[in-house]
């Protein structure tokens, strides 16, 4: 698997449960030395050796971007998921050696902004933590609105409120508190950029409301990594490498290509970056496009697929790989 970014060998320095769902992991460089600096919003892809399956999941870095001593991520356990987060929660222990990718940033701050307005839902808080470190260091102007289910699941809410007094606003679903988005957006000074990270519904709500209110598209930023969907097994022919590959029920097409030793690029593994886009040479069946990279036209055109999250149902699929 050569197709991601450069790899880093790290050792797990700390595993700390934060609440019922979230555990925090700290990585230091194996054998000592500094890690590359990154910018707020960056993620790393963590490789998990789960028996004979290699799982790769992207997680946002939440530590101070200027701190080269360690990287920190937070993982929310997803019992319905395909096993990556469960592996992190149950198998990863302090002292374990792991491989992670160099940081990649698909959700960076627009430093031309005069003010940064951040909207987080649940575990979507993590990229903002690094961004707030960065902005606090630079003296940037920011404000965070953070929506959580309950106070006990408000991961880092207390810590952030203390660290950035007056800048952090927390909303509890169970107390029927909600972000008054139209009012919030209506009062932002010119030059404000808004950033949203959270569930799909929240992201759509922010994009939709902002555009109805006349916000420029360039001033609205979001990040959502999708988990690869499971589905019926299918078969794919790889024309370049001349191999036929079986894609299992809980395996993504990208994972199947990797398992077959086929060079397949990726950066996010969540349908967001465009890096894995692959040309379709021929097919007989239907695509299940799950990404938010291809345009609707491209999806209908049957010439491209994003192997990290999308699937296929039908007789034959031939890819340019």
């Amino acid at each position: 698997m050569s197709a991601g970014t450069a790899k880093l060998n790290v050792t797990v320095a700390e595993v700390k449960p934060i609440n019922d769902l979230v555990t925090r992991f700290k990585f230091v460089r194996t054998g000592g030395g500094g890690l590359p600096t990154f910018s707020g919003g960056a993620h790393t892809v963590v490789e998990m050796q789960d028996g004979d399956i290699t799982r790769l999941n992207a997680y946002s870095l939440m530590s101070n971007p200027a701190d080269r001593g360690a990287y920190t991520i937070s993982v929310r356990r997803d019992d319905q998921g395909r096993g990556g987060s469960k592996f992190m929660h149950s198998k990863v222990k302090e002292g374990m050696e792991m491989v992670i990718s160099n940081p990649v940033n698909l959700f960076s701050l627009d430093l031309r902004a005069k003010k940064h307005l951040m909207l987080a839902g649940g575990i979507g808080i993590t990229p903002f933590m690094a961004q707030m470190h960065q902005l606090a260091m630079m003296g940037g102007r920011f404000e965070l609105h953070y929506s959580v289910r309950t106070a006990s699941l408000g991961t880092y809410a207390k810590e952030l409120t203390e660290r950035y007094p007056g800048k952090v606003h927390v909303y509890h679903d169970d107390q029927k508190e909600a972000i008054d988005l139209p009012a919030l957006l209506a009062n932002q000074p010119l030059g404000t950029h808004v950033y949203v990270c959270g569930p799909k519904g929240m992201i759509n709500w922010v994009h939709g409301t902002a555009s109805e209110m006349g916000w420029p598209r360039e001033a609205v930023h979001s990040e959502e990594f999708l988990a690869p969907a499971s589905g019926k097994p299918f078969e794919v022919k790889c024309a370049v490498s001349n191999k036929v590959v079986q894609v299992g029920e809980h395996q993504s097409l990208l994972e199947a290509l990797e398992a077959a030793g086929i060079d397949a690029p990726y950066l996010c593994r969540g349908g967001a970056c465009g890096q894995c886009e692959t040309n379709v040479i021929g097919y007989d069946g239907k695509f299940l496009h799950h990404d938010h990279w291809l345009t609707d036209e491209q999806k209908a055109g049957g010439k491209h697929i994003m192997p990290c999250v999308s699937r296929f149902e039908g007789k034959t699929l031939v890819l340019d790989r």
Binding site: L185, Q188, P189, L190, G214, W215, E218
Partner: protein
């Protein structure tokens, strides 16, 4: 005066579109001379409520009172008519300071007006791609002399004399967003005194 089709040019040369009413918390319209026509055209597509949230800043230039009463009659929440861009500048800055995200900015008229107002609006924090422009009226250019840095307004010929240092300058399509001007380069630098005949390029 009707719209101008500009011939294809280099990348730095700005291109202009056609104003359309877009949803927003406010509408800041800055126009000079025949730019008024673009606003009057846009007015045909909107209802009365639109104008309550609008602010028109208008510089008639040579058109005198031809359009000003029509613009005033649109009933914008705020209307200002001023003698020159310089006179209107503090008003433009103030308007931008006071407005919030979601305000739509519409610029129309000469390239000089649009370029300078664009600079103010982008400095205030609006991405330039979100600002609408429509060219109307004179194609005279605002030129910067690359030698003395002086700016000459309303240049209509190529070459032209820099109004600051007096050199004869060749009119380039190279455009600077920061100073909202095209670049003028000495036309006889290689062969002093050999100045080609002036051609009236712009009206």
């Amino acid at each position: 005066m009707s719209k101008t089709e500009f011939p294809p040019s280099i990348k730095s040369r700005p291109v202009y579109g056609e104003l359309e009413a877009r949803p927003g918390g406010g509408h800041l319209m800055i126009a000079d001379a025949e730019g008024a026509e673009a606003i009057l055209d846009l007015a045909k597509t909107v209802d009365k409520d639109f104008w309550a949230k609008a602010h028109i800043i208008y510089i008639p230039k040579k058109t005198g009172t031809k359009y000003s009463s029509q613009l005033e009659a649109l009933g914008a929440g705020q209307y200002y008519c001023g003698p020159s861009y310089e006179a209107a500048q503090s008003r433009i800055r103030r308007a931008l300071q006071d407005c919030h995200m979601g305000t739509q900015v519409y610029l129309t008229g000469t390239e000089s007006l649009m370029g300078q107002a664009m600079y103010e609006a982008t400095s205030a924090g609006i991405p330039h791609t979100a600002i609408q422009t429509e060219h109307r009226g004179s194609t005279a250019r605002r030129m910067q002399c690359v030698h003395c840095k002086g700016i000459t307004e309303d240049v209509t010929t190529d070459p032209f004399e820099c109004s600051h240092c007096g050199l004869s300058l060749f009119v380039r399509d190279h455009y600077s967003r920061r100073i909202a001007a095209f670049q003028g380069v000495r036309v006889d630098a290689e062969d002093p005194g050999n100045i080609p005949e002036k051609v009236e390029l712009f009206k």
